[in-house]
Amino acid sequence: MKTKFAALSFGVGFGFVMAWARLADQHVIRNMLLMREPDVFLLMGSAVFVAAIGARLLRARGARALITGEPVAWNSETPQTRHVVGSVLFGAGWSLAGTCPGPAAAMMGEGRVAGFIVAAGLVAGVVLQGVVARLRTSDSPAPVEISGAAGL
């Protein structure tokens, strides 16, 4: 319960800031991808920088997560073919839509039709991938569990 409330709260914070920074505006994303809005790259870079320092500080102090009690830790993953193949597809869709999974959710909150259409596509896409992955691994004894730093 606490976990879900915390996740919901962080989600609200994320959605608000993304919308406020206009990341939920397809024109902004298109301009970024055309290298006309370097601000968005700086935004992502500074987020990565702050998150990198914060996560390492927590781990160095041997901190435990306040709600779950787990020790703060994460796995590093080795790049595999699926990371590159999947990301080529993802990048193509991102470019076409001018939005990606997070901002599309914020767009729905803002009542933008495009957000609902992209989100419907995303759900269809993840379901399709699940079906295909299950068919491809049905011969092997254990299903491939995708889990790593990115959390899927």
């Binding site: 962080f10 987020a47 590093s76 259409i117």
Partner: protein
């Protein structure tokens, strides 16, 4: 104006701090795609929905909060040639969902969280999707096909 648009040097560090906060409270990575996966897998048994789905629902709520405070609700249609536009957006969504689940993350999961943790798979994924997206955007603009 800061009210009109949050500048990168505030928004970026704020997002970074929230990624750290999620780590400090739950030891979980921030990724939006996981929410779609969670919803798709567990929507029929809502009690099984986990933090990923709630994170995503929160983002929708954040959009609502922004629109009711600093922004405006935009019920705007998607422009001229609506059917074609909708088709492109839906297709793009399917391709993104399929690709990101294959790669194990999206712009937030790999691009922000995984990058910040220095995960080689996230670095490879992010470089790939940024290069693809930038390249395709350029191609589309040359051929005038920008949707």
């Amino acid at each position: 104006m800061i009210v009109d648009r949050c500048p990168w040097y505030i928004a970026g560090p704020l997002l970074g701090l929230m990624i750290v906060g999620l780590r400090a409270l739950l030891n979980k990575p921030f990724g939006a795609l996981g929410g779609y996966v969670d919803l798709a897998d567990n929507v029929l048994t809502p009690r099984r929905l986990g933090f990923r789905a709630f994170l995503l629902l929160g983002i929708v709520g954040g959009g609502v909060l922004y629109a009711t405070t600093l922004g405006t609700f935009g019920y705007s249609s998607i422009g001229e040639n609506a059917a074609a536009q909708a088709g492109i957006l839906l297709t793009a969504g399917v391709v993104m969902g399929f690709g990101a689940r294959t790669a194990g993350g999206c712009t937030s999961g790999h691009g922000m969280t995984g990058m910040s943790l220095g995960s080689p798979a996230s670095i490879a994924s992010s470089m790939t999707f940024f290069a693809t997206a930038v390249g395709l955007a350029q191609l589309l603009s040359w051929f005038g096909g920008q949707p």
